[in-house]
Amino acid sequence: MRAAEASAVAREWQRFTPAERVARFSVYLAIVAAIVWSIDTIEVIPEFLYDAPEQMADLLVRMWPIDYAHYPRAIHETLVETLHIATLGTILTLVMAVPVGLLTARTITPHPALNWLGQLILVSSRSVNSLVWALLFVAVFGPGALAGTLAIAFRSVGFVGKLLAEALEETHKGPIEALRAVGAPWLSILLKGYWPQVQPSFWSISLLRWDINVRESAVLGLVGAGGIGVALDDALNFFYWDRVAMILLTIFVVVIVAEVAVNAIRKKII
């Protein structure tokens, strides 16, 4: 008895239990093993690597001077198309994400099977990259902006729906109970109980996603789904690097302007 107490006192304090230490150690081991394995087996062609500086210099020389005249000729039209794809895709996303979000939120849909169905829709939307969505829709609807818009919309549903469901689950119970107590129908509960509470996060999520979608819709054209990516793909295929530089500059400027605008609007509405 005495001995046990003494050993308990003498025992050194440790932050983690043995099981935790084993787990952490195995994580470190796994990380190191993964990195070593990757370095060991990844295929890098050394000849390509040696002349990388030359190639980079060559690229910059070919890009300069930037072909500004290409903007009114071909880029402007596709840029407008890109912005329409992003915006229209985001609006379509909101239309689809609201019902799925409602389905997923446990406080609104009290049935676990339905919640699970909502989760499944959201996860499958998120785990398919927007370029893959674009490939699929190009195969279905043919090349063009329709495929791009749908790709943007289907990819964004997962993101918007997940965040919307989380916002819905975090609402205060008070106003909802009050509405329920006066016998309000469920549509009124949704519109007057939940909506005012999730409205700020709803707008902020939508704006954030629009910003991401502007970025994503710029590459959809590489697989033929419309927008500025089509112009980029054309320029790349013909090795017009000065045009490529102009297109990249355009994308860069638009993305930065979109981000600044979104931040300004978000500050205003939150």
């Binding site: 990844i42 390509f48 398919v128 990259n129 279905v140 902006a145 970025r215």
Partner: protein, 266 residues
């Protein structure tokens, strides 16, 4: 509803007044949708034709064709290698970059260029960055790794800098008042406050890199994306279906793995 509200004498008060500006905004959005849809050549007929095409397309996708599973596995492994290396390098680089971009630790002469650098890394889509690197270092996995390193710096660097800006400066001051060197202030005053969030960002980026590493192959930067795109161009849809299933399974497995990692480090 209006008649019942309010006591006699007082002006009737409606509970939920309709807001005209909001209704007009909603109408404007609807008008925009119609305008943009017509501009992009989106129409109902086209949608219906597409539905027919879609049925045929799905018909050709099933059953998925796994006979060339060796090529598939090779592509998946390469994607994983790209993701692992890009995350390791990207995380290692974003740690100092994030510290240098934090406005409460560094003077503006350091943070402003760092912020521009992070912004530049973030602004272009990884696939576009991959195009540049394919030109610079040739076709193959290395271009993909470099492109995703850039993306990782853009994401983790920004969030890490923001996390550092939110720390409590009291602990930093306490460490500094003992005469500690800059590195000691970092290790004992700053990093303990932000390490948990940094690990969170890194895990998220690992997931995100894995997703993107399956895509950079479309422009020739290695991984399963090249196989996917090639199969697509050959209208080899049952093989496309098999690749897609494999990619989704990989991403699911990665998500489960990263959740387990997150729990271990909490």
């Amino acid at each position: 509803m209006t008649a019942a509200a309010g006591s006699p004498g007082a002006a009737p008060r409606r509970a939920f007044v309709p807001s005209w500006p909001k209704r007009i905004a909603l109408l404007a959005v609807a008008a925009y949708v119609i305008y943009a849809a017509s501009l992009l050549g989106i129409s109902w007929e086209r949608f219906l034709i597409g539905m027919d095409e879609g049925a045929r397309f799905i018909g050709r996708m099933v059953p998925p064709n796994f006979t060339r599973w060796e090529l598939l596995l090779k592509g998946l492994l390469e994607s994983m290698q790209i993701a692992v290396l890009a995350s390791a390098l990207g995380i290692a680089i974003s740690l100092p970059v994030g510290v240098l971009a934090a406005r409460n630790l560094m003077p503006a002469s350091v943070t402003v260029p760092m912020r521009v650098f992070i912004g530049a890394c973030r602004s272009l889509h990884p696939v576009i960055v991959a195009i540049m690197f394919v030109k610079a270092v040739g076709f193959g996995a290395l271009a993909g790794v470099l492109a995703l390193v850039v993306a990782s710096i853009g994401f983790i660097g920004k969030l890490f800098a923001e996390a550092i800006e939110e720390i409590s400066l009291k602990q930093v001051e306490a460490v500094r008042s003992t005469g500690a060197s800059f590195m000691n202030v970092m290790t004992f005053g700053v990093l303990p406050q932000v390490m948990a969030r940094f690990i969170g960002f890194s895990l998220y980026q690992l997931d995100s890199n894995l997703r993107n590493s399956t895509m950079v192959g479309i422009v020739g930067a290695g991984g399963i994306g090249g196989t996917l795109f090639a199969a697509f161009k050959r209208f080899d849809y049952d093989y496309v279906c098999a690749i897609l299933i494999a990619i989704i399974a990989l991403i699911f497995a990665a998500e489960i793995f990263s959740n387990w990692l997150r729990r271990t480090f909490q």
